[in-house]
């Protein structure tokens, strides 16, 4: 059984955006990233294919760090973002 937590670092906060269409996962991420300490990791769980491209693109535009995207067993991804500022 593949579990994202086996391959990915433990996130400080998990945002469940499964079933939500872009841009909602990005809006949730932008709202909540400041709830974690600096350098901590937020995991966005999303299954809209747009999120797979858009979360890393958001990181680039907002100067946060896209750690990696890990496939979820039930479909979709856990997309990990490190808060940079």
């Amino acid at each position: 059984m593949s579990n994202p937590r086996e391959t990915a670092p433990q996130p400080s906060l998990t945002i469940d955006a499964l079933g939500k269409k872009c841009p909602i996962p990005i809006i949730m991420l932008a709202e909540q990233i400041n709830q974690v300490p600096m350098n901590a990791v937020v995991a966005v769980l999303a299954d809209d294919p747009a999120a797979f491209t858009d979360v890393p693109a958001w990181c680039r535009l907002k100067s946060h760090h896209h750690v990696g995207s890990y496939e979820l067993p039930e479909g979709g991804w856990a997309i990990h973002v490190r808060r940079n500022y």
Partner: protein
């Protein structure tokens, strides 16, 4: 309405309209027959062929007319692969080609062929070094590259691709749909495709040019029409109108494309200055003169299109919510840029600068309201 969707289709050029109406009266007969009206239709068809061939840098006998740009791509790609079957079954193509290329490549794959897709940079240009390497792999039957991307406007390194293919002895199919009539077609292609309604001609006319000496075999059942390359009765009036549009477009292109390009520059520099959290996409310099694309963070593409339509702007989007497939555009995905809140502006000939300024005046408020409605602070 301010029509900013020329990359989908350019409005019919007035000279094409005139030519179409005249040709409906005199060019309706079967150009394959030998009586008076038939010879008249043949003459009109061949005159149009000669004119279009000249603009595209082809010989008239290399040019066939298809029923669409998509059909030209399907036939061009699958026919060239068929003709080169003994050389190999490998196709090299770019990651941001038109869907007609991707779908024809899919057919080739299902038929047992191989497809190598060359990745693109953040601006959407194919990686030329990877392209060179890919075409030099033994067994490569064909390579395919667009002149400019249809969604973001970025020009592809076609001259470099032509050199690489020549060195490797591999034919190159160039898809000139977005630039034919606007920019000179680079010489050195083996197969060239284009679409008349993108240059102000009527819908229903595509161009397939196969260079002398290029191996090509129709993937479809045999037919006598169009040098045996395209099946079915020719649409002579539409082809005549396509030639009239191309002639008119090219005669204005030098000044008009420079003017459109300045308007695109204005959009590219002003939008990020007046709208926060916007990414302007594509190459700022190496681009088609009439296309620009941007994405707005936290904005749903469909909401943006609907709001702009209500204000009288016709634009297009690569966002997933605007696609029948509910998937984001493969172009934006391959570039790794924001896919939501995406708007493509493509300016037709003669567009008023005042319309572009009006767009710039209303856009900040449109985006602000959609963000507010979505609860974005």
């Amino acid at each position: 309405m301010a029509y900013f969707d020329a990359a989908s289709t350019e409005p019919l050029h007035p000279q094409a309209r005139q030519a179409l109406i005249a040709a409906l009266d005199v060019g309706w007969s079967d150009p394959a027959r030998l009586y008076g009206t038939a010879r008249r239709a043949r003459l009109l068809l061949d005159q149009a062929r000669a004119e279009i061939a000249e603009v595209l840098g082809a010989r008239p006998d290399e040019v066939s007319f298809t029923t669409s740009g998509t059909q030209a791509v399907h036939l061009g790609l699958l026919g060239a692969l068929q003709g080169r079957r003994r050389a190999g079954r490998r196709l090299v193509t770019g990651a941001v080609e038109h869907s007609s290329v991707l779908h024809a490549a899919g057919t080739h794959e299902r038929d047992g062929g191989a497809v190598h897709t060359v990745g693109v940079s953040r601006t959407g240009a194919v990686d030329l070094a990877e392209f060179e390497e890919a075409v030099s792999v033994p067994g490569t039957a064909l390579a395919c590259l667009q002149t400019a991307n249809h969604e973001v406007g970025t020009l592809q390194p076609v001259a470099g691709a032509i050199d690489a293919c020549r060195k490797a002895g591999v034919p190159l199919m160039v898809d000139a749909a977005q630039t034919a009539g606007r920019l000179a077609v680079p010489a050195g292609w083996s197969v060239l495709t284009a679409s008349a309604h993108k240059w102000g001609g009527p819908a229903g006319v595509g161009v397939l040019a196969v260079r002398k000496g290029t191996r090509w075999r129709s993937p479809l059942p045999e037919d006598e029409r169009e040098a045996r390359r395209v099946p079915g009765f020719e649409n002579v009036p539409a082809v005549v109108a396509a030639a009239a549009a191309l002639r008119a477009m090219v005669s204005e292109a030098n000044s008009e494309m420079a003017r459109l390009s300045m308007l695109i520059d204005r959009l590219r520099t002003t939008i990020p200055a007046v709208v926060p959290d916007v990414e302007v996409i594509g190459d700022p310099v190496e681009r088609a003169p009439h296309i620009m694309t941007f994405s707005c963070l936290y904005v749903e593409g469909e909401a943006l299109l609907t709001a702009l339509d209500a204000l009288g702007f016709a634009v297009s989007s690569g966002s997933s919510c605007t696609a029948s497939t509910l998937r984001p555009s493969h172009v934006l995905e391959a570039m790794g840029v924001l896919t939501h809140g995406n708007v493509r502006i493509s300016l037709p000939r003669g567009v008023a600068a005042a319309e572009v300024d009006r767009f710039l005046a209303v856009l900040p408020d449109v985006v602000r309201r959609i963000r507010e409605d979505a609860g974005v602070r």
